[in-house]
């Protein structure tokens, strides 16, 4: 994958420029050893990977250690279908100098994923307005300082997944 290369490139040009349409590279998560590293590892392969209870398959919060359904403590990070609907959405008008590169208000969405998780994200590209609650979104990725971050495409221009073979809840590749 090319994430490492783009990191080098963007850091040479300083924190105020970067590969992302929205934020400065300085906001890139530190992924090595992070509790969310499986999510970032999946994202680097273009896959949305989220935690489930290994015993009962309940979708878990990103940092959840014990399943509230069955009490199991084995977490399985699994690739899920990159689709969801909007739970809540806002347009962020305040743009912190040095952190936000965009020159206009940007969307922040709380998305209910088909997998049963909820994930906060912005959009893959600049948008003039936020989608409405209940609107469908497709999940793709932004590159922020070499780290791929889940993001939403409100209008789903990409081909939809046509097989029912279930990208959802298949084990993510190691």
């Amino acid at each position: 994958m090319s994430a490492g290369l783009s990191t080098e490139t963007s850091r040479e040009t300083g924190t105020m420029t970067g590969s992302d349409w929205l934020l400065a590279d300085s906001l890139a998560p530190i992924i090595e050893g992070d509790v969310l590293q499986p999510l970032y590892d999946g994202a680097a392969l273009g896959q949305l990977v989220l935690p489930f209870c290994a015993s009962c398959s309940l979708p878990l919060d990103l940092e959840q250690q014990v399943c509230d359904g069955c009490g199991g403590s084995d977490i399985a990070w699994r690739r899920v279908e990159p689709v969801g609907i909007v739970h809540a959405a806002t347009m962020m008008h305040r743009r912190e100098p040095g952190l936000v590169l965009a020159s206009a208000p940007y969307p922040i969405l709380d998305v209910e994923l088909g997998s049963g998780h909820r994930l906060v994200m912005t959009t893959a590209d600049a948008e003039l307005s936020a989608p409405a609650i209940g609107d469908p979104v497709h999940i793709t990725f932004r590159d922020l300082g070499g780290v791929r971050i889940p993001s939403a495409r409100p209008h789903n221009p990409e081909p939809t997944v046509t097989t029912s073979t279930a990208l959802s809840q298949t084990e993510a590749p190691a």
Partner: protein, 386 residues
């Protein structure tokens, strides 16, 4: 000393609430404690318990248990740093009251100090730069969720979606609280505010405008609890009831994760007090954003079944309303000192020291606290002793 079965709030000390950088939290706390001791007409030698509270994360030199030595206290029987986010103040009151009732301490100082305003940077910028690059918060910040406003903006959008509340309801909260603040000398925003003024306020994160957000200050409030009837301010305020609710929720599709969690805290506090909602003369709620007050009025069942927006727009939370609410301007127009903001205003009102904003005959107050993303609720019922 002359002990009573009742635990009273016997002292209150408030620093000036500064919107510019200045003293460190420890200096502010020392000043508030001095004022509270003077208010109760006692000295540090009368104090055998100290509880401290401080906000998380913004600065490394936050107030802690070292304040016992820094603040000049003698040997103590109770000393703790209490931390449950915005529910901390009420948790301190509960802790102090239980310790006093159990005989573990007699006279307890509870102090909260915060100084988020630092030189060279606005408050919004300070919050935008805090939060780190790890875990869920790191992922959110990498998605543009900077500071706490956008999260509460999402909550506001969702609340309007599920409850039918409208932007004009937020405006009514803000203008009503400003009207209270006009007559509060401790408030940081006292200029009368019209609905048009509200609409001219810049959007921070839809639907929240700058005026929908709390005003961070550098300041401190200290209160003193005791069961010694021989000491304290002449207006005795009894701790009648407390309640807490910590709904443990998960963020899942098809479910709400912010709403439906706090009513138990209010129910328990009222039951503990042997009172009902109709006994409340005023409510002082924790209101970091306008939408929180709007939402809590319904979540806590304080409107007699009316929609909160209807209730507020009818003036019921204002002067001469059915439930005067956030009568010092709250955290929006008064000052954002977390849980001390509603507690201090309740004490001022119950002591009948509210001046031009005094609620006539106020004798029972509900004080609220929320923490996190409405993950923690705390309620306190205070009564002015006859």
């Amino acid at each position: 000393m002359t002990a009573s079965d009742r635990v009273d709030l016997v002292g209150l000390g408030m620093t000036a609430m500064s919107t510019t950088p200045g003293a460190a939290p420890q200096e502010l706390a020392r000043e508030a404690v001095d004022l509270a001791l003077a208010d109760a007409a006692i000295t540090r030698a009368d104090v055998d318990g100290l509880l401290v509270g401080s906000s998380q994360g913004i600065r490394p030199d936050r107030l802690g248990v070292a304040f016992a030595a820094q603040g000049g206290f003698g040997d103590l029987r109770l000393l703790e740093h209490v931390e449950i986010k915005g529910a901390t103040t009420i948790a301190m009151i509960q802790r102090a009251a239980l310790a006093i009732a159990a005989g573990e301490a007699r006279t307890v100082v509870c102090v909260f100090a915060d100084a988020p305003l630092v030189a060279g940077r606005g408050a919004g910028s300070t919050y935008a730069h805090s939060g780190g690059q790890s875990g869920t918060r790191g992922l959110e910040r990498a998605s543009g969720v900077l500071g706490s406003v956008p999260t509460y903006a999402l909550l506001a959008q969702r609340w309007m979606h599920v409850s039918g509340a409208r932007p004009e309801d937020l405006a009514a909260i803000v203008t009503t609280q400003r009207a209270w603040a006009v007559d509060n000398p401790a408030a940081v925003a006292r200029t009368p505010l019209s609905a048009d003024d509200y609409l001219a306020s810049p959007l921070i994160s839809t639907p929240l405008r700058r005026l929908d957000c709390a005003r961070p200050v550098n300041g401190s409030v200290a209160v003193i609890l005791s069961n010694d009837v021989a000491i304290g301010h002449p207006a005795r305020l009894a701790v009648r009831g407390t309640g807490r609710s910590h709904p443990v929720r998960h963020r899942r599709a098809g479910a709400e994760s912010w709403f439906g969690g706090g009513r138990r805290a209010v129910d328990d506090a009222l039951e503990h007090a042997g009172m009902s909602r109709s006994d409340l003369d005023l409510a002082e709620l924790y209101d970091p954003f306008s939408v929180v007050t709007l939402m809590l009025l319904e979540e806590y069942d304080l409107t007699g079944g009316a929609k909160a927006g209807t209730f507020v727009r009818a003036g019921e939370t204002g002067p001469r309303g059915r439930l005067p609410t956030n009568t010092g301007g709250g955290q929006l127009s008064g000052f954002y000192l977390q849980g001390m903001t509603p507690l201090a205003e309740a004490m001022v009102q119950l002591r009948a020291e509210g001046g031009d904003r005094q609620v006539p005959g106020a004798s029972v107050a509900l004080v609220g606290g929320i923490g996190g993303r409405l993950d923690h609720h705390a309620a306190l019922v205070l009564e002015r002793a006859a």
